[in-house]
């Protein structure tokens, strides 16, 4: 039992959070998060006017991934449960949004609000699935949980082929999405609209997650991660906490998958393979387990690294066959190496490296004041 479930987050970095009944910098957490979110939204709108369409689309993809990486951060980083099945949960969200949007279209319901409803349904369905897996997960530890979620990650995409009457096999389902509202003008770039939609949904999700993390629930999550026995002795219902973490995390992953499907305007098993699940783990580990800011780094990396390797392979002027192999696989190889190296050399990830100097300063400042 003494084996903790945490992926060794540097103790010092987490300590200020766990201790704080209220935010140590004073002021209301909710207000601060609201301000942050608003600032991010304004920034996003501003940026969306300055970027070329392709970059705008990439930024929207980052936002979609960010939902999933933030969800996984809550689960793995804050609650210590490792899930290799978040790709499958994203697939659940993606297919749900596909079904909903198609159902609306079949009934000729065409309106701006349908997408919001579809996304909400996608989150709800994933939450239910997440609750089922979470109940099982709460009884499992370490490598056993990893094994089960790995099985989920491999089996779920295969189901789309098994029941191809429903899911249309490898081909997948198309996701009909409305054009931008007419009020925005006839020449409003579609990519900008995509960024606005995904950005809004993601910021909302992050706001909710951010508040959860700082709340009583967030503290119980961390308490369970750090020491299950101690948490139990402190009166925390460990299993319930773990299920809750899984449910929240699943909901976020479902939203991320749904947004990805909306962006790609399709949901297919190839987009949600085991590799995606491993990517998500990689993203949260490299970004830095245990902090939502780390999830941002992870999501950015997921989009940026393939882009960089693409540029690299192009510049090398390789023969086309070799270039094709390189392009698909080089990012994978780099992600793999990064995962191994980060786990061995810097388990705190990018965010851990960044926040260390900042934390030291903050602690010094606080001690000097008191």
């Amino acid at each position: 039992m003494s084996a903790t479930r945490a992926a060794a987050p540097p103790a010092g970095r987490v300590a200020p959070d766990t201790r704080a009944g209220h935010d140590e910098r004073g002021g209301s957490t909710l207000l601060r998060h609201l301000a942050l979110t608003t600032a991010a939204a304004i920034l996003l709108v501003a940026v969306s006017h300055g970027l070329e369409p392709f970059r705008t689309f990439q930024l929207a993809t980052v936002a979609a991934y960010l939902c999933a990486t933030a969800g996984l951060t809550v689960l793995t980083g804050l609650n210590g449960q490792l899930s290799l099945g978040h790709g499958a949960l994203m697939a659940t969200g993606a297919y749900t949004v596909a079904f909903c949007q198609r159902a609306f279209l079949d009934r000729s319901i065409v309106a701006g609000w349908t997408l919001a409803v579809s996304l909400l349904v996608a989150v709800l369905v994933t939450v239910v699935i997440g609750a089922v897996i979470g109940v099982a997960a709460a009884r499992l530890r370490g490598p056993y949980l990893a094994g089960v979620t790995l099985a989920v990650a491999i089996v779920v995409p295969a189901l789309t082929v098994t029941f191809d009457g429903v899911f249309n096999g490898e081909q997948g389902l198309s996701v009909p999405v409305e054009p931008p509202p007419a009020a925005l003008g006839p020449y409003f770039p579609y990519e900008r609209w995509q960024l606005w939609v995904t950005g809004a949904a993601t910021l909302l999700a992050l706001l909710l997650l951010g508040n959860l993390v700082r709340s009583r629930f967030g503290r119980t999550f961390r308490a369970v991660r750090d020491d299950e026995v101690a948490a139990r002795l402190a009166g925390i219902h460990v299993a319930r906490t773990q299920v809750l973490a899984f449910v929240v995390s699943a909901g976020a992953a479902g939203l991320g998958g749904a947004l990805l499907a909306v962006l790609a305007q399709s949901a297919s098993p190839g987009a949600f393979s085991l590799t995606l699940s491993l990517f998500l783990v990689m993203a949260v580990v490299i970004g830095g387990l245990g902090s939502l800011a780390g999830a941002v780094w992870g999501a950015v990396l997921l989009v940026a690294l393939p882009d960089l390797t693409h540029t690299l392979t192009e510049s090398l002027a390789l023969p086309p066959a070799v270039a094709q192999r390189m392009e698909g696989n080089l990012p994978l190889a780099l992600f793999g190496i990064a995962l191994v190296v980060v786990m061995i050399a810097a388990p705190g990830g990018v965010q851990g490296l960044l926040s260390r100097p900042g934390r030291v300063l903050r602690v010094r400042w606080r001690t000097r004041r008191s």
């Binding site: 039992m1 084996a3 903790t4 479930r5 945490a6 992926a7 060794a8 793995t76 210590g80 490792l82 290799l84 099982a136 009884r139 499992l140 530890r141 370490g142 490598p143 056993y144 990893a146 094994g147 089960v148 790995l150 099985a151 989920v152 491999i154 089996v155 295969a158 189901l159 082929v161 098994t162 085991l274 590799t275 491993l278 783990v281 990689m282 580990v285 066959a321 192999r325 390189m326 698909g328 696989n329 080089l330 990012p331 994978l332 190889a333 992600f335 793999g336 190496i337 990064a338 995962l339 191994v340 786990m343 061995i344 388990p347």
Partner: protein, 292 residues
């Protein structure tokens, strides 16, 4: 009845491979308390080596030997170059590192060989034979079962009857005491990785010709099945892994024979969940065996 017998034989042959692969997982679990999630990818890499050797020499058997050698080598390298440096205090760390290895190995294979299926020919016919009106499985099935049986016997003999096996078991159970008794524990651990990876490579060689072919992801589902087999047997028990492997093989054979092969992944997942939720220590482990 004929069909049942056929499916049973097929299941035993398949199960033998799962048993071998599950055994490779159990070997590392016992030696290092790590579930090696990279075992599937490592096995595929070894089979690609066999593919290269076989296509250039024209000999299946040279390829076969090359795969085993590659497996042994890969296990050694993974232990010495990677796992030795991982902080094992949290059980998640080695799992995450193994996943990184999965990504890396599969990507490297994809770069060298491309992400398409390569044909993998079995050395013997895979069509079932009948003797006196009774199905006895295909020559390849017999080869698979005999090979796995030989490996299982050889491993059992090594571990229970030889000095090196005694050293390996002692280092796994009590590393510090073993060191005081002059056992080079680190070396035994590396040997365990090498052996396990060699057995995994052998399992890959045996199973890939019965599947769609050679592909960087060819062992993904096999890994899950073998993990399930190992869990069924209790991760700590080599005999349990063998029995678990055979059980999983039979189950999958019946499911695919009677309900459709598309359903086998779902059946594996259901079995894994059922075993973990009902009897998490496995069917064969003593009640107190699992400490997590």
């Amino acid at each position: 009845m004929d069909r049942f017998l056929f499916l049973t034989l097929d299941g035993l042959s398949r199960g033998a491979v799962y048993a071998a692969f599950a055994l490779s997982l159990v070997l590392i679990w016992r030696a290092a308390r790590i579930v090696n999630f990279a075992q599937g990818a490592m096995a595929v890499a070894a089979v690609y080596v066999a593919y290269s050797v076989s296509t250039s020499t024209g000999s299946y058997w040279l390829g076969f030997l090359a795969a085993i050698a590659a497996g042994l080598l890969l296990g050694t390298v993974v232990d010495l170059a990677v796992m030795r440096f991982v902080d094992h205090r949290s059980p998640l760390n080695p799992v995450i590192v193994a996943l990184g290895l999965v990504l890396l190995i599969q990507a490297v294979l994809g770069m060298i060989y491309g992400n398409e299926f390569r044909p993998a020919e079995p050395p013997f016919s895979r069509s079932a034979r009948t003797v006196g009106g009774l199905a006895v499985g295909s020559p390849y099935d017999l080869f698979v079962v005999a090979t796995v049986a030989a490996v299982v016997v050889a491993l059992a003999w090594t571990f229970t009857r030889t000095a090196i096996g005694l050293r390996m078991r002692a280092s796994a159970f009590a590393p510090e005491v073993s060191r005081l008794l002059g056992v080079k524990v680190g070396g035994m651990l590396t040997l365990g990785w090498a052996l396990a990876s060699g057995v995994g490579a052998l399992a890959g060689m045996l199973i890939i010709p019965t599947e769609l072919g050679l592909h960087p992801h060819a062992m993904d589902l096999v890994f899950v099945s073998a993990f399930t087999a190992a869990v069924v047997g209790g991760l700590d028990s080599p005999p349990g892994a063998v029995v678990g492997g055979l059980l999983v093989g039979l189950l999958l054979s019946y499911v695919s024979g009677y309900a459709g092969s598309d359903l086998t992944p779902l059946a594996v997942l259901a079995l894994l969940l059922a075993v973990l939720l009902v009897r998490p220590a496995g069917l064969f482990a003593p009640v107190t065996a699992r400490q997590v």
